[in-house]
Symmetry: C2
Subunit: 312 residues, 2 copies
């Protein structure tokens, strides 16, 4: 636990996942101000928008914050230039090969954390020299691994395979969930869904209200053949399933996906035709709250639950 706090210079080993269309400067700065580590999700930002979020985040907090950078981002060189120029201390990379940028960023004094969904990539990340790993389970919202490893089974297997500081992600929204993750061998957690349903997230209010209505069983891992993504079930996911059940090709699925589905759903609030990326644990989220309330309640529940656990 202290590994993560020291690595990022934060109070609690809680990282807010960098999520497209949901995690701009307001959310990231609120999480950092509340003692966690906020991340600006660069994946949905053009370079000029990204620059603006960095500038505003710096104005809103004097605590460390980071950036989540999908390595398949088309204008990645431009984002990296901004990250270096702005002396962003921490970069979480995902969806690509950690060998490509890790050494370069570290030479500039930047800590690099890579997100993985299986043991193989956890080992590759360690070989690439990253400072820490996020291991994210099948229950997580948004983009997801092909192997369907759940958090409960992935964390102990990654813990056994690598020695790096390890953040657990996928299915964690409460203090009890965080305590479970630490029991499994994590040094800290990355939380997504719960932070989407905060006042400070940039998700559309329609989406936030949909999250708190979501019940057990209301999400689905869609596009398993193309690029798996966990979404709230809606008209769009029904269409995806119909097409998949007919044995659709990647091309047919890509055509149905089209462009801008994620923005349409999460940022513009089109609940029926957009992609609504959220995790299975959304079924337990019942309120849209300020970030500070969320973090405090996680800490309180964690400490209370810990006191109830007795020796066998």
């Amino acid at each position: 636990m202290s590994k993560i706090k020291e690595l990022f210079n934060i109070q609690y080993p809680i990282v807010q996942g960098g999520m497209i269309w949901c995690s701009g400067w307001r959310l990231a700065s609120a999480v950092s101000n509340a003692g966690g580590l906020g991340l600006i999700g660069a994946g949905s930002m053009y370079p000029d928008v990204f620059q603006e979020h960095i500038t505003k985040c710096k104005q809103a907090t004097d605590k460390p914050f980071g950036v989540n950078l999908p390595l398949i981002y088309p204008q990645i060189d431009e984002l990296i230039k901004i990250i270096v120029a702005e002396k962003i201390p921490i970069v979480f990379t995902s969806a690509g090969n950690p060998k490509k940028w890790t050494a370069f960023l570290q030479e500039k004094g930047i800590k690099v954390v890579h997100v993985v969904s299986n043991v193989k990539f956890a080992k590759k990340s360690e070989e690439a020299g990253v400072d820490a790993i996020v291991a994210e389970g099948f229950e997580a919202g948004g983009h997801n691994g092909f192997e369907e490893n759940t958090t409960m089974t992935l964390i102990p297997q990654v813990r056994k395979a690598v020695n790096l500081p390890l953040l657990a992600a996928g299915g964690i929204a409460t203090g009890s969930g965080m305590l479970a993750a630490m029991s499994l061998g994590a040094d800290g957690v990355q939380i997504g869904s719960r932070f989407v349903a905060t006042k400070e997230s940039s998700a559309h209010d329609n989406f936030k209200n949909e999250i708190i209505k979501t019940q057990n069983g209301d999400t689905i891992l869609a596009f398993k053949k193309l690029i798996p993504v966990r979404l709230i079930k809606n008209n769009f996911t029904v269409k995806v399933q119909e097409l998949q059940n007919k044995g659709a090709s990647r091309e047919q699925l890509t055509e149905l996906l089209g462009k801008g589905r994620a923005k349409k759903g999460m940022f513009e609030g089109d609940l029926q035709n957009g992609e609504l990326e959220i995790g299975q644990i959304s079924g337990i989220i019942t309120k849209v709250e300020p970030v500070e309330t969320v973090i405090n309640s996680i800490i309180i529940e964690y400490n209370q639950k810990l006191l109830t656990l007795a020796k066998l």
Copy 2:
């Protein structure tokens, strides 16, 4: 935790899952003798074989043991007669409606526990009057729910929805895993895969040796459209996936499945053409050990890990 120990009159809140072809009297009595609750898996037994296992289990232990009874079993009336005549104290039911048999069994003084994979059926089980619930996640081996709820997200949601004693299942094979389950709100755990890989399980040695070779990512949830079942990947699962990717009908899948696949794989040791039911956590199992060693190591690891968890 004490709820489960009192309900079953056992030393540790650890239940060995009733698993077809793997959990006969040897495994069940060994688990009960080691302080857990052993279950005879009735699903793969004709009534005469079942009777024999009960008789032998009683000879091998004076501790309580139970039976796992899939409610879709064709000769269920005959098995129930044996259960009542033999005064089996505990029955775990699965794969069917808990309303049908719960009251009848309870009138005979038998405790009834129902296995569920979502919140809806947890509530239905509570309405049916069961004594406890097993909530089993997507990572579990063997038959599985359609909704793909993982243990990490299912347990807290079921805990919130029902007041009954709750056993967590799916992805638990070690003391750390058990501690995680208790953190999520479970009162005890049901463990499957780890007990298949014991000296006392009736799994074929080929299957046991295959389990300890299994790495992260080596299982798959097959037959998602028909009746989802988690298996070790082999020639058979490759064929299933090929057929599914072509948009196969339920009839085509049923034909491929054929008869006796589970026996062929798990009991007869045909690793390429049989069904090898195992959970995702098998990637962490590296030895075939006696049951007593397994249970002791779970208890030791649980207690050690608990000591390392600090307040936030």
